[in-house]
């Protein structure tokens, strides 16, 4: 009788551990980088590509940058409450947008690639922010 109870408890424990392990496997992908398509959750500006963005250097004018990578997705106020302007070439939530477009509920949220140019009042690029955001 004792052995049957132990085997029963063992079965429950093993089933619980299997579920926990399976769920644990999904945890790194929450706001994580997708293995097969790393830009799966990154919205790109029309003519943007990470390779083209790498060609942009501090000191160039924004017009020169636009010639290379095109118009940004959107513009915004510069960091640290300055009069600078930020040009955002990528954005988060590509999967969310496609889910909305398809009328589905629920979506996956992966890491996205930041590509931002900080431009001063003389239209000179004074800062380049690029890298992975796990948010």
């Amino acid at each position: 009788m004792k052995l049957i109870v132990l085997k029963f408890l063992s079965t429950i424990c093993i089933a619980f551990l299997v579920v926990i392990t399976f769920v644990l496997g999904q945890v790194p992908l929450i706001e994580g980088k997708h293995l097969l398509n790393q830009y799966i959750d990154t919205e790109f500006a029309k003519d943007y590509s990470p390779e083209k963005f790498d060609k942009i250097k501090v000191g160039m004018t924004i017009d020169e940058a636009i010639e290379i990578i095109g118009e940004p997705l959107y513009k915004g106020q510069g960091y640290k409450d300055t009069l600078n302007t930020n040009y955002y070439y990528t954005g988060d939530g590509k999967l969310l947008n496609s889910t909305k477009d398809n009328g589905q509920s629920g979506y996956e949220d992966f890491a996205w690639y930041r590509s931002t140019l900080e431009v001063d009042r003389n239209n000179k690029i004074i800062g380049i922010d690029k890298g992975w955001s796990h948010d």
Partner: protein, 84 residues
């Protein structure tokens, strides 16, 4: 010996994928996986009829490689789900 090598390989792959996706050196995941493997071995050893040590070794031989396989199934389930 073969089981040990396969297990180490699977744990290394699991850890590497975790580091790649989460963007940080995640030793915690490896620790949790090993803890699950130990607990699973203890739970599974009850099904064998020899002495405790032999049962535990037989169970560990099966459970230790299976744990990262289930972890990888979860990882690739989520990876492939969004691509469909």
């Amino acid at each position: 010996m073969k089981t040990i090598i396969i297990s180490i390989l699977l744990y290394v792959v699991s850890t590497c994928l975790t580091i790649y996706s989460s963007g940080q050196a995640s030793i915690v995941t490896l620790g949790i996986l090993l803890l699950i493997a130990v607990l699973g071995s203890l739970a599974f050893s009850i099904w064998f009829k020899e002495n405790f040590k032999d049962n535990l070794l037989r169970a560990a031989k099966f459970v230790f490689p299976i744990v990262p396989v289930i972890f990888l199934l979860g990882y690739f389930y989520n990876t492939l789900k969004v691509m469909l």
